[in-house]
């Protein structure tokens, strides 16, 4: 590395030994408050909420135009997906959340504050041990009274587990980009896999 006396180098290595890197960029962004990201998230959430409302209200007669504008159609499905990356180890995983009947039951008057049930499928592999818990962490919105919360999905979990969650504020948090999914193991109780949950549309022709 450089011109250090071996004895000094040994002591320096003992003082700060090498270790597996526990990278967590999402944690950095959360600590930073990441205002621009949140402003962008709010803007995106407003657009998506409007899209959901319009897609769900054919009575307005403009659904086709909105479909064309957004590149989606009446058979599009809304997903919230997290690609989980290893905080430690070499595992991988995904969390795929779909609002239950969101496109048929959400009217233009119910787009704000709706507590629709969400079906969540958890897949993972390559963990250091059995998954002790899977959860979604939601950071607080930027308003002064806002609070974050944690939604437990399953625990212990097996890959392929599907659960239905009904939690007020969760869908808005998902739209807003404030939710992070993580899977913990006994060796890594704070999460061995982690990833932000994003908004996706998939077609089901």
């Amino acid at each position: 590395m450089n011109d250090f006396d071996p004895a000094v180098a040994l002591e320096l290595d003992r003082l700060a030994p090498p270790a597996a890197a526990l990278l967590d960029w999402s944690d950095v962004l959360a600590r930073a408050g990441h205002r621009s990201h949140r402003r962008g998230g709010v803007a995106v959430s407003v657009v998506v909420l409007a899209a959901v409302a319009l897609l769900a209200t054919p009575a307005l007669g403009i659904r086709g135009k909105v479909d064309a504008l957004l590149g989606v159609d009446g058979r599009s499905r809304l997903h919230f997906i997290a690609i989980l990356k290893p905080v430690a180890g070499y595992g991988t995983g995904t969390v795929d959340a779909t609002p239950v009947r969101a496109f048929t039951h959400v009217g233009s008057d119910r787009t704000i504050g709706f507590a629709q049930a969400i079906s969540v499928k958890v897949d993972f592999g390559g963990l250091s041990g059995p998954a002790t818990v899977a959860r979604v962490r939601v950071t607080a919105p930027r308003r002064p009274s806002g609070k974050g919360f944690v939604v437990r999905l399953c625990g212990p979990c097996r890959t392929g587990t599907t659960v239905v969650i009904r939690r007020r504020g969760l869908i808005l948090a998902l739209f807003d980009g404030r939710a992070t999914a993580e899977i913990a193991t006994a060796a890594h109780p704070n999460g061995e896999l982690r990833g932000p949950i994003g908004v996706w549309f998939t077609r089901s022709r």
Partner: protein
Amino acid sequence: MRIVHDRRGVSLGEIEHVYRARFEEYRRVATAIVGDAERARDAVQDAFASAVRNRATFRGDGPLEAWIWRSVVNTALNQRRATLPEPTGYERNGDAPHDHEDGDDPAELRGALKRLPERQRLALFLRYYADLDYATIATVLRVSEGTVAATLHTAHSALRRRFEEVHL
């Protein structure tokens, strides 16, 4: 890797790139300063969060990584000062003196390391763990390159003298 800017401000992606490329070096220097692996990681995370918040103020008159190094070092120093008395690092890392198997007495060298003036220790840490060149260390510590060379030479001499006193 060195990212030098000719403009004001830095993008989020550039900071993330430095984070992913050099996290381990930042963590080791912070560990050496703070003396505790967990709090050191916390310091690095906080330092990068600070860099993200203040990225618009980056003037681009030096390498981006040096700007972040300064943030990491200052955050780690603040962490250490907030938890006086100063931790030894060895104790917190669970590495007791009797763990040595080679018959040396590392406690003497350890004591000599601890007794070095702060600037000398920081220069040593930045040089050893991160392999930074003198120019970057100078930017981080806000001194001249010549001062860095002299500081490292003095630190090496002090440690070598102490080591020879123990073993000769």
